[in-house]
Symmetry: C2
Subunit: 160 residues, 2 copies
DNA sequence: AGTCAGTAATTGCCAGAACAGGAACATTGC
DNA sequence: GCAATGTTCCTGTTCTGGCAATTACTGACT
């Protein structure tokens, strides 16, 4: 936010604006592209991705909810919609009749694979090609820990 | 997406995941914090920020809509809500009776300034302190062009 | 067995977001 | 002056998201 570049802004603020604007702009493009070509938005893609990487028995609703990047809460309704589109199936958990396992259908698997392929092309075009490999390496190293689940330690303390 | 780290993934994909996960996680925290302490979400903050940096005459709806980071369409309704909270005012455009200028009210200016102060503290805590200045500098340099409006040129061509 | 706190997921409700359509106005060319 | 075309913003409608309450079940304790 705060578009004008105030020369007294600390470095981390410029860095943050870069991360923020890049992801926001690229997601706008990617979401629109996915909706148009694959027929579902990134929120679905996020869920399908988790299930694709999950063991074949699928995942519990709670796990999905915790891992979801884009939507906080409302996972029941979201899975309802994805299920109505036959990309996903709810199955009983063997030993716990309260629980539900969410599993990819064959169609869901195929549609996800196709969407992933296209999505990667979009990201490559909008992001990958626009920086040098050295720049990508620097960013990947710096932000590595955010997608490796928990946030990293304080850089001013020594911890690695 | 695609949580597991496939060793054959290109560098730009790791880099992208870093940007994506970092911004998503940090925005979740920042949005919740702002809602709780300032009484409005990041979508409002985004609009207020544009107006704060705009000339005193304010901005047209269209400009706001184009620049908005978080909000896809529906700017009329969004400005309705912000206006109902007295943070913003619609004024006629002298010479074009279709048009509207959206202007910050005094209260809007104050509330924005307070929110910005707190927001920066949150970002510093969640992001600023977690990387070294060198890392921040690298990211800021690489992603500079995304918040300097249009995306950068292809890194494989020479353009700077 | 019977009760009771704890857990998993769904439902209802309302604010907010997305999308299409339309009214009011400006601008251009005749 | 007048019609044709594009702009600017709003309204109607439908869908999504967030939160609290609810249902259905489990596991432990008596």
């Amino acid at each position: 936010m705060q578009l004008d570049n105030d020369p007294q802004d600390p470095v981390w603020f410029d860095s943050w604006r870069g991360v923020l604007f890049a992801s926001a702009r690229i997601l706008q493009v990617a979401d629109r592209d996915m909706l148009e070509h694959d027929g579902f938005p990134l929120t679905w893609f996020d869920v399908l991705a988790r299930l694709f990487d999950a063991p074949p028995a699928g995942m519990r609703m709670q796990e999905l909810e915790e891992l979801a990047l884009f939507n906080r809460g409302g996972m029941t309704r979201l899975v309802d919609r994805i299920e109505a589109a036959s990309l996903v199936r709810r199955e009983p958990v063997p030993g716990d009749r309260r629980g539900v396992r969410v599993v990819l259908t064959a169609e869901g698997r195929n549609r996800y694979a196709a969407a992933l392929l296209r999505h990667r092309q979009v990201i490559e075009r909008e992001f990958g090609r626009r920086l040098t490999p050295a720049q990508h390496r620097a960013i990947a190293d710096a932000l590595w820990s955010w997608w490796h689940d928990v946030g990293p330690a304080d850089a001013t303390q020594d911890s690695g």
